[in-house]
Symmetry: C2
Subunit: 669 residues, 2 copies
């Protein structure tokens, strides 16, 4: 791939004198689209200037999804050659924006005329110069404006009774001239792309479960219809998206047994990611889970609960996948005639065959993958979680996601990429709507602060939307293994309150399932990846009530619905992490303080930036703990905090915006 050249362009016309630089926001100077959600307003800025002293006209062009025309807005000068204008992300889809600018000879002449008049230098020649500009404009103007402009030009030349200057500076002339500017020598910036997604691409709570483990009858393989029965529970907890691991036929050859055993017993269900068998491949439903009709029913039933269904897109095949017969050239053959299975020596994954993305037939293979996604989109699925995207070529993802979104712009893709930092960010730039993060491995206050500052601010936040998962079927972190139920509570608060987009793998999470396959492993013992599990959802020690409350708080507080304005606050005290989120106008402020030590009570002094909150440091303000529904009056920037993990892992305070004095103390009257 030739990266776009930025070097010297051939000279077209030396009279194009305006320079446009540093358009912002932009991702890698416009190479990749900016990401926003519908309803956002993007403040677009640019450096625009020319040689000499001429006045400029600077406009922001905005192309709406699917439109050929550009809507133009005047950009305002902000000083130091910076210009700005707002762009409304009013609809889901691919928008474009561009900055254009030209030298405005009429505005220059008008400005200079004012100065000349003030200095007593104005002459007839100045009015004649203006008349010529007006004449020229008339030639470009629509019919009715044209005749009026010609009239004014004549009047300027005549200057009857010295009326010329008044006419020249009149708003009528300015308005008429604005209808027909001379843009022959305008400079036009590179066009920048803006992908606008649904609001829940930014703000959502995901719940992952294995349908195989949803049967009400212990030991029976769960079905998609069983999942429907689980929907009220998931909706009650406040989740927006239900994500299922692959629902396709599971391969039989080399099928793995419980706990990743190399051979499976006759009743073992195998790994859902080993896709494909005699019963079909990526466009089929695993018979033990049900039928395609059942899946459509599930999509519809979930919708009735306000829940969207997310499917897994895992581009790999089991040894039994029909594609191995239909398209053997999509896989890499070995000299002994066998097909190359997945491996990262010395690790071997004999039940999974990767596609060979260097196949001569790559175009047909790409098209087939696209057909897979379109097939599920047709079934009503609009949300995809993509398995291991970092093991498929980058150009493929850029193409696939653009292609799907060109017809279905509301479809979103979550990248399951736990890989190197630059690879994760590249995937985000290429189009993934959200990405998994290193959150699982960030456990100390300093680690969390540093990481969330990186991912919640530009440049990263302009292209990467973090999706925060305290656990996944692949990752049971040592912190959870050792910390027990308080650790699960703490990590849930961190995920839900730090990040607008988060998810859990349940019911393992709310039931605080904490036993690893073996010491030092991050794999679950008796993982659902390899076997059916039964879960007692009504166990009294479930942290479901905390999770329900967190999701309620998120829904009620706009401050928590984006990662903008996430600010960490100083705490004098070990293992305490404090941060706030607030809306742009500070009308909603949520302050969270967490004890990161799941074993020991911790206390310390918290320091708050009251000015940022719009709070007068000389007056008391109200804080309402949303977890325990207690209200307190605080005064000043320093506050004592104490948290005992045996009681609660955190305080989640709603800081009440300033009220009028007579209302401030209503609860105490």
């Amino acid at each position: 791939m030739i990266e776009p050249a930025m070097t010297h362009e051939p000279l077209t016309d030396g009279r194009l004198r305006v320079v446009i630089e540093r358009i912002r926001p932009s991702v890698d100077s416009g190479r990749f689209p900016l990401k926003r959600v519908v309803g956002d307003v993007v403040r677009v800025g640019a450096d625009v200037f020319t040689d000499g002293h001429d006045a400029l006209a600077v406009r922001l062009g905005h192309q709406l999804p699917g439109q050929a025309d550009w809507i133009e807005t005047d950009m305002e000068p902000l000083g130091n050659d910076e210009w700005g204008a707002d762009l409304e992300a009013g609809s889901v889809g691919l928008h474009r924006y561009v900055v254009t600018a030209w030298i405005d000879r009429f505005a220059t002449w008008r400005r200079d005329l004012v100065r000349r008049v003030e200095a007593g230098q104005q002459t007839q020649v100045d009015l004649q110069i203006g008349a010529q500009l007006v004449d020229d404009a008339a030639a470009r103007a629509p019919g009715d404006a044209r005749s009026r402009l010609l009239e004014i030009a004549d009047a300027l030349r005549a200057d009857a009774g010295g009326a010329g200057v008044g006419l020249a500076l009149d708003d009528e002339l300015r308005a008429l001239m604005a209808t027909c500017p001379d843009r022959r020598f305008e400079t036009r910036s590179a066009s920048h792309e803006l992908v606008v997604d649904r609001r829940d691409a930014r703000f959502a709570a995901w719940y992952e479960l294995f349908p195989r483990s949803t049967s009400p009858v212990p030991g029976r393989h769960g079905t998609l219809l069983d999942v429907i029965e689980r929907l009220p529970y998931i909706a009650d907890l406040g989740f927006d998206v239900l994500y299922l691991p692959p629902v396709h036929p599971v391969g039989r050859t080399f099928r793995k047994g419980p706990n990743n055993a190399l051979t499976a017993g006759p009743g073992d269900p195998g790994v859902p990611w080993a896709i494909g068998s005699d019963e079909g491949g990526h466009m089929d439903v695993h018979p033990e889970l049900g039928t395609l009709a059942d899946l459509r029913t599930l999509v519809s039933a979930a919708g009735g609960h306000g829940i969207r269904l997310a499917l897994d897109l895992a581009l790999q095949a089991s040894a039994d996948h029909p594609l191995l017969r239909e398209h053997p050239d999509w896989f890499r053959a070995r000299p002994d005639g066998t097909i190359q299975y997945a491996e990262n020596p010395p690790k071997r994954y004999q039940d999974i065959y990767p596609f060979d993305f260097e196949s001569e037939d790559w175009r047909a293979m790409w098209a087939w993958f696209r057909d897979v996604v379109r097939f599920w989109v047709t079934q009503g699925v609009r949300v995809f979680r993509v398995d291991n995207p970092h093991t498929k070529p980058f150009p493929f993802w850029e193409w696939l996601i653009r292609d799907i979104k060109s017809t279905d712009p509301d479809v979103t893709f979550l990248a399951e990429a736990f890989t190197r930092p630059k690879v994760m960010y590249r995937l985000a730039k290429l189009g993934f709507s959200q990405g998994y993060t290193y959150f699982t491995w960030r456990n100390t206050a300093e680690e969390l602060r540093t990481y969330f500052e990186e991912i919640s601010r530009p440049p990263v936040s302009d292209f990467f939307r973090p999706s925060i998962w305290p656990n996944t079927p692949d990752i049971l972190h040592e912190y959870l293994q050792l910390g027990g139920r308080p650790a699960f509570a703490t990590r849930a608060v961190l995920a839900a309150m730090l990040a607008a987009h988060y998810g859990i793998y349940g019911p393992a999470y709310e039931l605080a399932e904490a036993t690893p396959r073996e010491p030092g492993s991050e794999e679950y013992l008796d993982s659902e990846k390899y076997q059916v599990r039964d879960w007692s959802l009504d166990r009294p020690d479930s942290i479901a009530p905390l999770i329900r409350r967190l999701n309620q708080i998120r829904a009620a507080h706009p401050a928590l619905q984006s990662n903008d304005r996430l600010v960490f606050h100083a705490v004098d005290g070990a293992d305490l992490l404090a941060w706030s989120k607030r809306t742009a106008d500070a009308s909603d402020i949520v302050l969270t303080v967490v004890n990161l030590d799941p074993q020991r009570p911790r206390s310390g002094v918290l320091h708050l930036p009251l000015e940022l909150f719009g709070i007068d440091a000389q007056r008391p303000f109200e804080v309402h703990d949303l977890l325990n529904d207690r209200t307190a009056l605080w005064h000043g920037e320093a506050q004592e905090i104490a948290l005992d993990p045996s009681e609660t892992p955190a305080h989640v305070y709603h800081i009440r915006p300033a009220l009028r004095a007579e209302q401030r103390f209503e609860q105490y009257q």
Copy 2:
């Protein structure tokens, strides 16, 4: 001008899997050339990665000036997907660099084979896979390598006596394979440009004078031959470049008199920037100064003193310029038939006509300007100071400078642009070798520190070379007007020790000429711009000795010959500014401390970063004051400093690199 597009490129081949990002150093992602001087080594870095786990080959390509071929060097992996290699700026001219990378299937296979062998997993099939890679390579290899590769491939397949693995891992095979890599799917970055200038584009001391004032006979108009007589004085002071204001015929119509009087007397010489009369224009020498032959003689005589002559490139015309008749369409006509003079209402410059860069005939006009520069290049002039480049279009400068340097890459251009920050930086990016700065108006310690940190570090230092002038014929700052001789000494030390490239307008500077035309003005009283002056160079209060010493210090100390590693140091004490410069290996370190108050003695405690200097904080070190030739032993990072402006404005210390113990105290034995 359409700015280069950075948006979505059409897909060429989906199998180009390697990504190259963030090549550095680069100026605006490669849109503009990087600047270096001959002898520099550029450490080039890039982020390079691919999907999955394949091994990469990454190379830095380097195209030398005037060459079509690219020289390739392996880039080394530095961790976190970053790669680096050195590029030598070995010759003056336009270099290019590019990063190329591809998936190295042989290296991947070899690495995996080692892992397989270690894990006891190696099989015959693995060797057969390798044999196929070697066979494929043979088809690409030169004749002698080809037959050996085919031999090895057969031997790998045969694996006689189990010798296959040893053969596979042998360095012979690695070396042979490196001669014929499979680069079908390589990724090639955008080509980046590197302008390499002569060393004195970065490190030089300029001396500006008006030839009109060099006559030994008071009142007589000086000549270019008089300037030759002045050369020994200038060389003795240690200057490298002698810059003359325009030497062309001066216009007569609207000629200005002394102190910018609207009318000139019969003997008044006029303003040298009002170029053009019946006696010629931009390619002629003003008869009162001499002839073209005299100018060539001056160039040659200056060269004999190690001094290069810089001419002024002022693209404007007096009312008498021959071009007004030959090319009236290069100027803007007014409706009354007159030509538009320069103005910025209410200011008017009736003696100067700007060119109309929006003329239909702009191409011919540009070509004529280029011919002007080429004419003087032919006369031996290689250095130009460009007057007011910010009032001519940016594309013109980019074209002109590239054009001249394409045949004469050693020619340099200093931009006299005292204008808005973004405009100054744009001019630098477009190709100016150095630029004037805001130094004149930066007088407090905080102002100087902030400004020099900005201009001495990337990204600015990659394209902008500051030229530091404490005075010019247009600017006599209030600090000099009020501070008297000590102020001139202080500003000379600041300019010469802070910046590798600096200049003074003399003899006004060394004679501390400090009287403004009127209070509040930055214009000189009786400015040479409008009249001939006599100067008494041997006045006892001249600061020429200080300037001579500063230039000697600069010549002797490599640390002062670039702005890299300029570091300011904390001083507890008002009006004191302290900084150091050092070479990359810290073998030369120069520490300067200046009292910015020209009236009062100042003292304070200086804090030094000894670790940066490679000095053991537990041991004494030697400092040698290069201004007064005194040596002292210091111990520890805190040092008392006292400076009385009536004695010296500054200490300029050479910090001696660590010596062996028996040598350290040699001066005290």
